[in-house]
């Protein structure tokens, strides 16, 4: 699927989460997402960026505008080289947290997007990809 624009952002400190949200908002507007969809994907991005920071020990996001069959969308890939997730199903369950969160971020991000995939294994880090189509 062709990519028409790619941006990268490091996620190292909590201000970077704000930057990820702003970038996501900007790309969503560019793609022409409505206000509700913009808010959804920005919120999902916020959740994943904070997980990358808090559990992954920092990482980066690749934000893209993608096109497929005449449709445009925003795709975000969050990647870290942290401890990884041993039990992905458990991590996705509402209410599960290994920290002091609400345990809703990962599952919530999945519900807020059209596409969601997660690749993670202990010791190799975590990669979460989401997309929201217009």
């Amino acid at each position: 699927m062709p990519t028409t624009k790619t941006e990268r952002l490091g996620i190292k400190i909590s201000d970077d989460v704000v930057r990820v949200r702003q970038l996501t908002r900007m790309l969503s507007v560019e793609v022409g997402l409505g206000l509700v969809d913009q808010t959804k994907v920005v919120t999902a991005a916020s959740e994943l960026a904070r997980n990358t920071l808090d559990y992954g020990g920092g990482g980066e996001v690749i934000a893209e505008i993608v096109e497929q069959g005449g449709r445009r969308g925003v795709r975000l890939t969050f990647e870290d080289k942290g401890p990884g997730i041993a039990d992905i199903e458990q991590a996705l369950k509402d209410g599960f947290t290994s920290g002091r969160g609400m345990g809703l971020g990962l599952g919530g991000a999945k519900r807020l997007c059209n596409e969601f995939s997660i690749v993670s294994a202990p010791g190799t880090g975590t990669k979460v990809t989401i997309a929201r189509w217009k």
Binding site: S14, D15, V17, V18, R21, R25, L35, V36, Q38, T39, K40, V42, T43, S46, E47, R50, D94, G101, M102, L104, G105, G107, G108, R111, L112
Partner: protein, 301 residues
């Protein structure tokens, strides 16, 4: 080779200081540096003279390695200059012009010198270009860092400033939240609200999130904690200003704020008044808008 090149540039500077300095200052003025109104001609003159002197010292002592010890004083001076320009609101290019505009006067001096071989001229041009480029980039790096420091400081100031708790009525407070709710700000907001609840013996606090662009799980958690803490201080919270797109997102996210929420601050205020045994009634006084007698019920004006 490097040492030779360095001393070539050094003697170029020292032999031509009298022409380089005024030409350089003139170029900076032409670039409009004084029009910014942030620096006086005297300061510009002093800074330029000082740098030229330090550059000469560095070149004589240590060749052309701008990261070396010999360049320490010159780098220190440039760092101070970049920092102060960043704080004074100069643009990056206005700041970098200080160094880059030195090229022309140097090359002019080189052209005027007819004792040099073509080879010497070429190597001196190359050395001084590389040198000034490095120093120019150094200037930009410091500039950037200082801008970031300014931003961090401003964020801290905003965190303290932008969290006013306002009294709407006897016993009713409002906390209009604006902007991002992560970072240290939430802590300040929360403490501020709780303290005001205690000080004013408030019964109801309305948290208005019209100005919060995103409510994610962290924001929701902060809100819930604030509501719980307020309850412990004896005050009930209402939340207002949840915009439709935020409400929908919160449903998908699965967060519930178990408090009464209203679309607008005005609606929440009406609820708060009712809960504290008060009501707002229209009076007949506005001419042309008088209500029929029997409809103007309530407790009287």
């Amino acid at each position: 080779m490097a040492a030779q090149a360095g001393s070539d540039v050094a003697s170029l500077v020292s032999n031509n200081e009298k022409t380089i300095l005024p030409e350089w200052v003139e170029l900076q003025k032409k670039a409009g540096i004084l029009h910014t109104g942030r620096i006086s001609e005297g300061e510009l003159q002093a800074q330029s003279k000082n740098f030229l002197h330090l550059l000469h010292e560095a070149l004589t002592q240590g060749g052309t390695d701008t990261t070396g010890a010999a360049f320490e004083p010159a780098r220190g001076m440039l760092a101070d200059l970049s920092r102060s320009r960043a704080q004074q609101g100069f643009s990056p290019s206005e700041t970098a012009t200080f160094i880059f505009s030195l090229k022309r006067p140097l090359f002019n001096a080189l052209n005027r010198d007819n004792t040099l071989s073509a080879e010497q001229i070429a190597s001196t041009v190359w050395t001084s270009t590389a040198l000034l480029d490095e120093l120019g980039l150094f200037t930009l790096e410091i500039f950037q860092k200082s801008r970031e420091e300014v931003i961090v400081r401003q964020q801290r100031e905003i965190a303290e400033l932008s969290t006013p708790v306002v009294k709407l009525w006897e016993g009713i407070l409002a906390l209009p939240l604006i902007g991002t709710l992560d970072s240290q700000r939430t802590q300040v907001v929360m403490e501020n609200l709780l303290q005001t609840i205690v000080d004013s013996e408030a019964e109801i606090a309305i948290i208005d999130i019209t100005g919060v662009p995103t409510v994610d799980t962290l924001t929701a958690q902060h809100l819930l904690k604030t509501v719980a803490a307020a309850r412990l201080m004896g005050a009930d919270c209402l939340i207002s200003g949840i915009r439709p797109q935020i409400a929908q997102t919160m449903v998908h996210l699965g967060v519930e704020l178990n408090v009464i929420s209203k679309a607008s601050l005005a609606d929440a205020f009406a609820v708060a008044l009712r809960q504290t045994g008060r009501a707002v009634v229209k009076t007949k006084r506005i001419e042309g808008f008088a209500l029929p007698e029997k409809k103007s019920g309530g407790q009287g004006a």
